[in-house]
């Protein structure tokens, strides 16, 4: 019998042996969700992506059992309110992008100061 404590080592050896025979070839590489999970602060490119607000109809739904008619109703309301929502999205996006640009400028100036340089205004 394999003791539970020894199982991982035995499994590792079996996997290695099978890999040497060309099996388990499809188990290499990153896992699908890895790229979507953030370990720390969101990178600037991702923040720029998030800054642009766009309400997608498929995130509007009912959580009730048999809630399909409610989901349809909610999505219809979303369509009817489109003019208003587009204006809201635009205003929120304008603010987000403005704030992001300010932060990026601030970051650039801090980095310049940390290097002992004099930051220049509006430098890209």
């Amino acid at each position: 019998m394999t003791r539970p404590e020894d199982a991982q080592e035995r499994a590792r050896r079996a996997a290695e042996q099978k890999r040497a025979e060309g099996r388990y070839s499809e188990t290499a590489g990153a896992d699908a969700l890895d790229a979507t999970i953030l370990g720390g602060r969101a990178p600037a490119e991702l923040l720029s992506e998030w800054a642009v607000i766009e309400i997608e109809p498929d995130i509007v739904y009912s959580t009730r059992r048999g809630g399909a008619p409610l989901t349809a109703l909610k999505r219809l309301m979303l369509r009817l309110m489109r003019q208003h929502l587009v204006e809201l999205e635009a205003r929120q996006t304008r603010f987000n992008l403005g704030l992001l640009a300010s932060f990026q400028e601030l970051e650039r100036r801090v980095e310049a100061l940390e290097r002992g340089e004099q930051p220049r205004d509006g430098e890209e």
């Binding site: 539970p4 991982q8 499994a11 590792r12 996997a15 499809e26 188990t27 896992d31 953030l38 739904y61």
Partner: protein, 346 residues
Amino acid sequence: MTAVHQAVAGAGPYDAVSQQARAWRRLLTESGYAGADHAGQVDPGARDGFRPLEQLEPQAQDLIVIRYSAWSPGLGRLLERPQRKLLVYHNITPPGYLWNHSPGLAVQCAVGRMQLPAFARAARVTTADSEFNAGELRHAGADGVRVVPVLFDRDRLGPRGRGPVGDGPLVLVVGRLVPNKRHDRVFRAFAAYQRECAPDARLLCVGTALNPRYAALMQQLADASGAHHVQLAGGMAQDELNAAYDDADVLLTLSEHEGFCVPLLEAFHFGVPVVAAPAGAVPGVAGHAALYTDGDPAVTAELIDMAVRDSELREELARRGRERLGQFAYERTADSVREVVQEALA
């Protein structure tokens, strides 16, 4: 009469925090305490047991049990109330898992983690349901954290079943479809197992999805893995879940962040061997009664194969599982619950 009220950020029909609130309520009622359970957001499927948080009107002498697993504005307002408070920390998912999949929930988790020290300061007694969670609570500045495990009522599970019957080996995964549970790794490991060891194997994933979009993504990943006989079953009522455990050959959990992991105890109850990633609270709960993978899908596949085919290993794991259940016996935990409630009320 002193009442003990419970407050949670969100209540649902199947999630572990709501289930624990229900289990505590039964115990509190048996122990002679009045009170009700409230939630910031109540899923339509949980309206029988939970009321909106705004309806919580405690008397001066009452105790409020705050079950903390995410922030909600209503929970934040409870801190201003003069009543005594008992904090039960269930862990908060690190928001990094959620920003890309559910921004609203990610915000709740990010703020929840930031606010944890304030909740710890406001509570007269702080508890966590695992040593792992207690560590996070201490890190947030809490002193004297008590570990009170999940109140695990085996009666609701019914008797142990006959064991696996029917077609190919059934690999069971129990837990919400959320990014930290890493179902992507499950699909990969299962596909490898099916390809190399058991072409007739089946995978059953039980648990509600984060949202319809994430459910669709998981279905896509399952399809792309090349595995077949994969079923994403959604949430299950207890009797259906019991039947799934009865039929299962292995419980697989490759979660990357776990505050407790109740399915481990359920698998032990049903004598189902466990193959797990040793993350978060999992090693603390399962101890030496599980087979641990190093994360390599091929190793996971080999471990599943061993757990399915090596009958002596299965028996040994079942024996150790029964031993672990002793650590989480209902009466033992019930005593701890009564103690912390009395301490908070003293």
